[in-house]
Assembly symmetry: C2
Homo-oligomer: 194 residues x 2
Protein backbone atom coordinates (compact mmCIF):
# COMPACT_ATOMS: atom_id res chain seq x y z
CA UNK A 1 0.00 0.00 0.00
CA UNK A 2 1.55 3.38 -1.05
CA UNK A 3 1.04 6.76 0.55
CA UNK A 4 1.35 10.13 -1.17
CA UNK A 5 4.25 12.34 -0.04
CA UNK A 6 3.25 15.22 -2.29
CA UNK A 7 5.25 16.84 -5.08
CA UNK A 8 8.85 17.09 -3.83
CA UNK A 9 12.41 17.01 -5.19
CA UNK A 10 13.39 13.58 -3.88
CA UNK A 11 15.78 11.02 -5.36
CA UNK A 12 18.21 8.76 -3.56
CA UNK A 13 21.15 9.00 -3.50
CA UNK A 14 22.35 12.31 -4.89
CA UNK A 15 26.04 13.15 -5.33
CA UNK A 16 27.69 15.82 -3.14
CA UNK A 17 29.15 18.20 -5.72
CA UNK A 18 31.47 21.11 -4.94
CA UNK A 19 31.12 23.69 -7.69
CA UNK A 20 34.30 25.73 -8.28
CA UNK A 21 34.19 29.20 -9.88
CA UNK A 22 36.09 32.51 -10.13
CA UNK A 23 34.13 35.56 -9.01
CA UNK A 24 34.14 38.97 -10.70
CA UNK A 25 37.36 39.85 -8.84
CA UNK A 26 39.04 36.68 -10.06
CA UNK A 27 38.91 35.14 -6.60
CA UNK A 28 38.33 31.35 -6.35
CA UNK A 29 35.09 30.31 -4.69
CA UNK A 30 33.19 27.07 -4.15
CA UNK A 31 29.73 25.95 -3.11
CA UNK A 32 28.13 22.57 -2.55
CA UNK A 33 25.19 21.32 -4.59
CA UNK A 34 23.28 18.04 -4.50
CA UNK A 35 20.97 18.85 -7.38
CA UNK A 36 22.95 17.42 -10.27
CA UNK A 37 23.97 14.34 -12.20
CA UNK A 38 25.21 12.93 -15.47
CA UNK A 39 23.02 13.79 -18.48
CA UNK A 40 24.88 12.62 -21.60
CA UNK A 41 27.72 10.27 -22.53
CA UNK A 42 28.69 11.69 -25.94
CA UNK A 43 29.56 14.46 -25.58
CA UNK A 44 30.04 13.78 -21.84
CA UNK A 45 27.78 16.23 -20.00
CA UNK A 46 26.65 16.80 -16.44
CA UNK A 47 24.08 19.04 -14.81
CA UNK A 48 24.31 21.10 -11.67
CA UNK A 49 21.46 23.28 -10.46
CA UNK A 50 21.63 26.22 -8.09
CA UNK A 51 19.53 29.20 -7.06
CA UNK A 52 19.92 32.70 -8.56
CA UNK A 53 20.45 34.02 -5.04
CA UNK A 54 23.76 32.20 -4.68
CA UNK A 55 27.08 34.04 -5.08
CA UNK A 56 28.18 31.34 -7.53
CA UNK A 57 25.27 32.03 -9.93
CA UNK A 58 26.75 35.29 -11.25
CA UNK A 59 30.16 33.66 -11.71
CA UNK A 60 28.65 30.87 -13.78
CA UNK A 61 26.73 33.29 -15.96
CA UNK A 62 29.83 35.46 -16.48
CA UNK A 63 32.49 32.82 -17.05
CA UNK A 64 30.44 30.04 -18.67
CA UNK A 65 32.53 27.42 -16.86
CA UNK A 66 32.76 25.47 -13.62
CA UNK A 67 34.67 22.67 -11.99
CA UNK A 68 32.72 19.91 -10.22
CA UNK A 69 34.44 18.10 -7.38
CA UNK A 70 33.20 14.76 -6.05
CA UNK A 71 33.15 14.92 -2.25
CA UNK A 72 34.94 12.10 -0.46
CA UNK A 73 34.41 11.07 3.17
CA UNK A 74 37.38 13.07 4.54
CA UNK A 75 35.88 16.29 3.09
CA UNK A 76 32.38 15.82 4.54
CA UNK A 77 32.57 18.78 6.96
CA UNK A 78 34.35 20.98 4.41
CA UNK A 79 31.69 20.35 1.75
CA UNK A 80 28.91 20.91 4.26
CA UNK A 81 30.49 24.25 5.22
CA UNK A 82 30.83 25.20 1.53
CA UNK A 83 27.08 24.66 1.28
CA UNK A 84 26.31 26.70 4.38
CA UNK A 85 28.51 29.78 4.02
CA UNK A 86 28.51 32.33 1.15
CA UNK A 87 31.43 33.56 -0.92
CA UNK A 88 30.02 37.06 -0.41
CA UNK A 89 31.03 36.90 3.24
CA UNK A 90 34.63 35.86 2.86
CA UNK A 91 37.20 33.42 1.54
CA UNK A 92 35.55 30.06 2.22
CA UNK A 93 38.38 28.05 0.69
CA UNK A 94 40.95 29.97 2.73
CA UNK A 95 38.93 29.33 5.90
CA UNK A 96 39.19 25.60 5.17
CA UNK A 97 42.86 25.75 4.27
CA UNK A 98 42.06 24.48 0.79
CA UNK A 99 44.24 25.53 -2.13
CA UNK A 100 43.39 25.97 -5.80
CA UNK A 101 45.10 26.01 -9.16
CA UNK A 102 43.68 27.45 -12.36
CA UNK A 103 42.24 24.87 -14.75
CA UNK A 104 44.10 24.91 -18.05
CA UNK A 105 40.93 23.99 -19.92
CA UNK A 106 38.12 26.07 -18.43
CA UNK A 107 37.86 29.39 -16.63
CA UNK A 108 37.42 27.88 -13.17
CA UNK A 109 39.58 26.74 -10.22
CA UNK A 110 40.55 23.19 -9.26
CA UNK A 111 40.59 22.48 -5.52
CA UNK A 112 43.74 20.46 -5.11
CA UNK A 113 42.74 18.59 -1.97
CA UNK A 114 39.60 17.03 -3.51
CA UNK A 115 40.39 13.66 -5.17
CA UNK A 116 38.29 13.89 -8.37
CA UNK A 117 37.34 16.96 -10.42
CA UNK A 118 35.44 17.52 -13.66
CA UNK A 119 36.40 20.56 -15.72
CA UNK A 120 33.25 21.79 -17.48
CA UNK A 121 32.31 24.32 -20.15
CA UNK A 122 28.70 25.52 -19.78
CA UNK A 123 26.75 24.62 -22.93
CA UNK A 124 23.15 25.17 -21.82
CA UNK A 125 21.49 27.24 -19.11
CA UNK A 126 17.85 26.52 -18.15
CA UNK A 127 15.85 28.61 -15.73
CA UNK A 128 13.53 26.00 -14.20
CA UNK A 129 12.10 28.16 -11.42
CA UNK A 130 13.80 28.41 -8.03
CA UNK A 131 16.83 26.64 -9.55
CA UNK A 132 18.73 27.27 -12.75
CA UNK A 133 20.26 24.18 -14.35
CA UNK A 134 23.71 24.52 -15.88
CA UNK A 135 24.59 21.79 -18.36
CA UNK A 136 28.36 21.44 -18.53
CA UNK A 137 30.32 19.63 -21.20
CA UNK A 138 33.17 17.77 -19.51
CA UNK A 139 36.51 18.82 -21.00
CA UNK A 140 38.59 16.58 -18.76
CA UNK A 141 38.51 14.71 -15.46
CA UNK A 142 41.48 14.77 -13.15
CA UNK A 143 41.99 12.36 -10.26
CA UNK A 144 44.55 11.95 -7.54
CA UNK A 145 47.01 9.19 -8.40
CA UNK A 146 46.19 7.55 -5.06
CA UNK A 147 42.61 6.79 -6.19
CA UNK A 148 43.78 5.09 -9.40
CA UNK A 149 45.23 1.62 -9.96
CA UNK A 150 48.23 1.03 -12.16
CA UNK A 151 45.96 0.89 -15.24
CA UNK A 152 44.41 4.24 -14.33
CA UNK A 153 41.10 2.74 -13.19
CA UNK A 154 39.30 4.29 -10.25
CA UNK A 155 39.62 2.60 -6.86
CA UNK A 156 36.36 3.23 -5.01
CA UNK A 157 37.79 2.11 -1.68
CA UNK A 158 40.36 4.86 -2.05
CA UNK A 159 37.98 7.45 -3.53
CA UNK A 160 35.29 6.97 -0.83
CA UNK A 161 32.61 9.13 -2.48
CA UNK A 162 29.78 10.50 -0.37
CA UNK A 163 26.09 10.17 -1.22
CA UNK A 164 23.39 12.53 0.08
CA UNK A 165 19.82 11.77 1.13
CA UNK A 166 17.53 14.74 0.46
CA UNK A 167 14.89 15.57 3.08
CA UNK A 168 16.53 13.13 5.48
CA UNK A 169 19.59 15.42 5.07
CA UNK A 170 22.29 12.90 5.87
CA UNK A 171 25.57 12.05 4.16
CA UNK A 172 26.54 8.42 3.64
CA UNK A 173 29.60 6.51 2.50
CA UNK A 174 29.06 3.72 -0.01
CA UNK A 175 28.50 0.23 1.35
CA UNK A 176 30.22 -2.74 -0.30
CA UNK A 177 29.48 -3.61 -3.92
CA UNK A 178 26.28 -5.71 -4.02
CA UNK A 179 26.34 -6.51 -7.71
CA UNK A 180 27.72 -5.57 -11.09
CA UNK A 181 25.85 -3.81 -13.88
CA UNK A 182 24.92 -5.75 -17.02
CA UNK A 183 25.64 -8.88 -15.03
CA UNK A 184 23.46 -9.18 -11.91
CA UNK A 185 20.36 -9.13 -14.11
CA UNK A 186 21.42 -12.06 -16.28
CA UNK A 187 19.55 -14.50 -14.08
CA UNK A 188 16.29 -12.97 -15.42
CA UNK A 189 17.27 -13.16 -19.08
CA UNK A 190 15.40 -15.78 -21.15
CA UNK A 191 17.47 -18.96 -21.46
CA UNK A 192 18.70 -19.49 -25.01
CA UNK A 193 17.25 -22.63 -26.63
CA UNK A 194 19.91 -25.44 -26.52
CA UNK B 1 49.42 15.00 -7.91
CA UNK B 2 46.43 14.57 -10.31
CA UNK B 3 46.27 12.54 -13.50
CA UNK B 4 44.00 13.19 -16.45
CA UNK B 5 41.30 10.58 -17.12
CA UNK B 6 40.04 12.32 -20.23
CA UNK B 7 36.56 13.69 -20.94
CA UNK B 8 34.09 11.15 -19.52
CA UNK B 9 30.62 11.05 -17.95
CA UNK B 10 31.69 10.29 -14.40
CA UNK B 11 30.06 11.32 -11.12
CA UNK B 12 29.72 9.29 -7.94
CA UNK B 13 27.26 8.08 -6.87
CA UNK B 14 24.40 8.13 -9.36
CA UNK B 15 20.88 6.91 -8.51
CA UNK B 16 19.50 3.72 -10.10
CA UNK B 17 16.28 4.93 -11.70
CA UNK B 18 13.65 2.70 -13.25
CA UNK B 19 11.73 4.71 -15.85
CA UNK B 20 8.12 3.57 -16.30
CA UNK B 21 6.21 4.25 -19.54
CA UNK B 22 3.30 3.00 -21.68
CA UNK B 23 4.24 2.04 -25.23
CA UNK B 24 2.21 2.77 -28.35
CA UNK B 25 0.06 -0.32 -27.64
CA UNK B 26 -0.64 0.87 -24.13
CA UNK B 27 1.56 -1.84 -22.63
CA UNK B 28 3.56 -0.96 -19.48
CA UNK B 29 7.32 -1.01 -19.90
CA UNK B 30 10.33 -0.02 -17.79
CA UNK B 31 14.04 0.61 -18.28
CA UNK B 32 16.86 1.48 -15.91
CA UNK B 33 18.84 4.69 -16.18
CA UNK B 34 21.66 6.09 -14.08
CA UNK B 35 21.98 9.37 -15.96
CA UNK B 36 19.63 11.54 -13.94
CA UNK B 37 19.12 13.59 -10.81
CA UNK B 38 17.19 16.38 -9.14
CA UNK B 39 17.35 19.71 -11.01
CA UNK B 40 14.91 22.08 -9.29
CA UNK B 41 13.05 22.38 -5.97
CA UNK B 42 10.22 24.76 -6.96
CA UNK B 43 8.64 23.48 -9.04
CA UNK B 44 10.14 20.08 -8.07
CA UNK B 45 11.87 18.73 -11.18
CA UNK B 46 14.14 15.82 -12.02
CA UNK B 47 16.11 14.82 -15.09
CA UNK B 48 16.53 11.45 -16.69
CA UNK B 49 18.56 10.93 -19.85
CA UNK B 50 18.36 8.06 -22.30
CA UNK B 51 19.39 7.24 -25.85
CA UNK B 52 17.10 7.63 -28.89
CA UNK B 53 17.73 3.98 -29.67
CA UNK B 54 15.86 2.82 -26.57
CA UNK B 55 12.29 1.52 -26.78
CA UNK B 56 11.34 3.91 -23.99
CA UNK B 57 12.39 7.00 -25.98
CA UNK B 58 9.39 6.89 -28.33
CA UNK B 59 7.00 6.39 -25.39
CA UNK B 60 8.38 9.45 -23.63
CA UNK B 61 8.09 11.56 -26.76
CA UNK B 62 4.52 10.38 -27.37
CA UNK B 63 3.09 10.49 -23.86
CA UNK B 64 5.08 13.36 -22.34
CA UNK B 65 5.17 11.53 -18.99
CA UNK B 66 7.13 8.99 -16.99
CA UNK B 67 7.35 7.46 -13.57
CA UNK B 68 10.74 7.24 -11.85
CA UNK B 69 11.29 4.44 -9.37
CA UNK B 70 14.14 4.49 -6.86
CA UNK B 71 15.78 1.06 -6.84
CA UNK B 72 16.18 -0.56 -3.45
CA UNK B 73 18.58 -3.37 -2.59
CA UNK B 74 16.00 -6.19 -3.02
CA UNK B 75 15.39 -5.06 -6.62
CA UNK B 76 19.05 -4.93 -7.68
CA UNK B 77 18.85 -7.86 -10.13
CA UNK B 78 15.44 -6.74 -11.44
CA UNK B 79 16.68 -3.21 -12.18
CA UNK B 80 19.84 -4.55 -13.78
CA UNK B 81 17.72 -6.77 -16.03
CA UNK B 82 15.46 -3.81 -16.91
CA UNK B 83 18.62 -2.04 -18.09
CA UNK B 84 19.85 -5.01 -20.11
CA UNK B 85 16.72 -6.22 -21.94
CA UNK B 86 14.50 -4.22 -24.34
CA UNK B 87 10.74 -3.76 -24.25
CA UNK B 88 10.80 -4.48 -27.98
CA UNK B 89 11.65 -8.08 -27.22
CA UNK B 90 8.93 -8.89 -24.74
CA UNK B 91 7.17 -8.10 -21.48
CA UNK B 92 10.09 -7.33 -19.16
CA UNK B 93 7.87 -6.54 -16.18
CA UNK B 94 5.93 -9.79 -16.68
CA UNK B 95 9.21 -11.73 -16.84
CA UNK B 96 10.09 -10.31 -13.43
CA UNK B 97 6.64 -10.92 -11.98
CA UNK B 98 6.24 -7.20 -11.35
CA UNK B 99 2.79 -5.65 -11.48
CA UNK B 100 1.70 -2.13 -12.39
CA UNK B 101 -1.18 0.22 -11.84
CA UNK B 102 -1.98 3.31 -13.90
CA UNK B 103 -0.87 6.58 -12.33
CA UNK B 104 -3.86 8.83 -11.69
CA UNK B 105 -1.75 11.92 -12.35
CA UNK B 106 0.42 11.16 -15.37
CA UNK B 107 0.17 8.88 -18.40
CA UNK B 108 2.62 6.29 -17.08
CA UNK B 109 2.58 3.09 -14.98
CA UNK B 110 3.54 2.68 -11.32
CA UNK B 111 5.42 -0.54 -10.50
CA UNK B 112 3.79 -1.63 -7.26
CA UNK B 113 6.69 -3.64 -5.90
CA UNK B 114 9.16 -0.71 -5.95
CA UNK B 115 9.07 1.25 -2.66
CA UNK B 116 9.29 4.86 -3.93
CA UNK B 117 8.00 6.36 -7.20
CA UNK B 118 7.91 9.85 -8.68
CA UNK B 119 5.08 10.64 -11.09
CA UNK B 120 6.43 13.11 -13.65
CA UNK B 121 5.06 15.30 -16.45
CA UNK B 122 7.72 16.04 -19.09
CA UNK B 123 8.25 19.82 -19.28
CA UNK B 124 11.48 20.06 -21.30
CA UNK B 125 13.25 17.78 -23.77
CA UNK B 126 16.91 18.46 -24.67
CA UNK B 127 18.81 16.57 -27.32
CA UNK B 128 22.37 16.65 -25.94
CA UNK B 129 23.92 14.20 -28.38
CA UNK B 130 23.93 10.46 -27.70
CA UNK B 131 21.48 11.10 -24.86
CA UNK B 132 18.28 13.11 -24.73
CA UNK B 133 17.50 14.66 -21.36
CA UNK B 134 13.88 14.66 -20.21
CA UNK B 135 13.10 17.18 -17.49
CA UNK B 136 10.08 15.98 -15.53
CA UNK B 137 7.99 18.06 -13.17
CA UNK B 138 7.11 15.90 -10.17
CA UNK B 139 3.34 15.72 -9.72
CA UNK B 140 3.46 13.47 -6.69
CA UNK B 141 5.68 10.97 -4.91
CA UNK B 142 4.26 7.74 -3.54
CA UNK B 143 6.02 5.53 -1.02
CA UNK B 144 5.28 2.20 0.60
CA UNK B 145 3.93 2.68 4.11
CA UNK B 146 6.68 0.38 5.37
CA UNK B 147 9.40 2.90 4.44
CA UNK B 148 7.68 5.74 6.33
CA UNK B 149 7.56 6.49 10.05
CA UNK B 150 4.36 7.49 11.82
CA UNK B 151 4.91 11.13 10.79
CA UNK B 152 5.32 10.11 7.14
CA UNK B 153 9.09 10.69 7.08
CA UNK B 154 11.26 8.37 5.03
CA UNK B 155 13.14 5.61 6.84
CA UNK B 156 16.36 5.03 4.92
CA UNK B 157 17.07 1.76 6.70
CA UNK B 158 13.77 0.48 5.35
CA UNK B 159 14.09 2.12 1.92
CA UNK B 160 17.67 0.83 1.31
CA UNK B 161 18.30 2.83 -1.90
CA UNK B 162 21.03 1.68 -4.27
CA UNK B 163 23.79 3.90 -5.63
CA UNK B 164 25.67 3.21 -8.86
CA UNK B 165 29.31 3.79 -9.71
CA UNK B 166 29.78 4.56 -13.42
CA UNK B 167 32.77 3.02 -15.18
CA UNK B 168 33.39 0.79 -12.16
CA UNK B 169 29.85 -0.50 -12.91
CA UNK B 170 28.96 -1.65 -9.42
CA UNK B 171 25.84 -1.17 -7.29
CA UNK B 172 26.20 -0.23 -3.65
CA UNK B 173 23.93 0.09 -0.64
CA UNK B 174 24.33 3.17 1.51
CA UNK B 175 26.69 2.98 4.48
CA UNK B 176 25.67 4.48 7.82
CA UNK B 177 25.01 8.21 8.10
CA UNK B 178 28.38 9.98 8.57
CA UNK B 179 27.01 13.46 9.14
CA UNK B 180 24.04 15.76 8.77
CA UNK B 181 23.70 18.55 6.23
CA UNK B 182 23.80 22.18 7.42
CA UNK B 183 25.25 20.86 10.64
CA UNK B 184 28.52 18.94 10.10
CA UNK B 185 30.08 22.06 8.59
CA UNK B 186 29.34 24.29 11.58
CA UNK B 187 32.76 23.58 13.06
CA UNK B 188 34.27 25.66 10.19
CA UNK B 189 31.92 28.60 10.64
CA UNK B 190 33.51 31.77 12.08
CA UNK B 191 32.89 32.00 15.82
CA UNK B 192 30.52 34.84 16.68
CA UNK B 193 32.17 37.54 18.80
CA UNK B 194 31.10 37.08 22.48
Amino acid sequence: MKRSLGAKPLLFPTPVLVVGTYDDQGRPNAMTAAWGGICCSKPPCVTVSLRKATYTYASLMARKAYTLHVTDEPHLTASDFLGMASGRDGDKLGTLGLTTVRSELVDAPIIQEYPLVLECKIVHVHDLGLHTMFVGEVQDIKADARVLDEKGHLLLDALKPLGFMPEVRTYHGMGPALGRAFDAGKLHMPKKAE
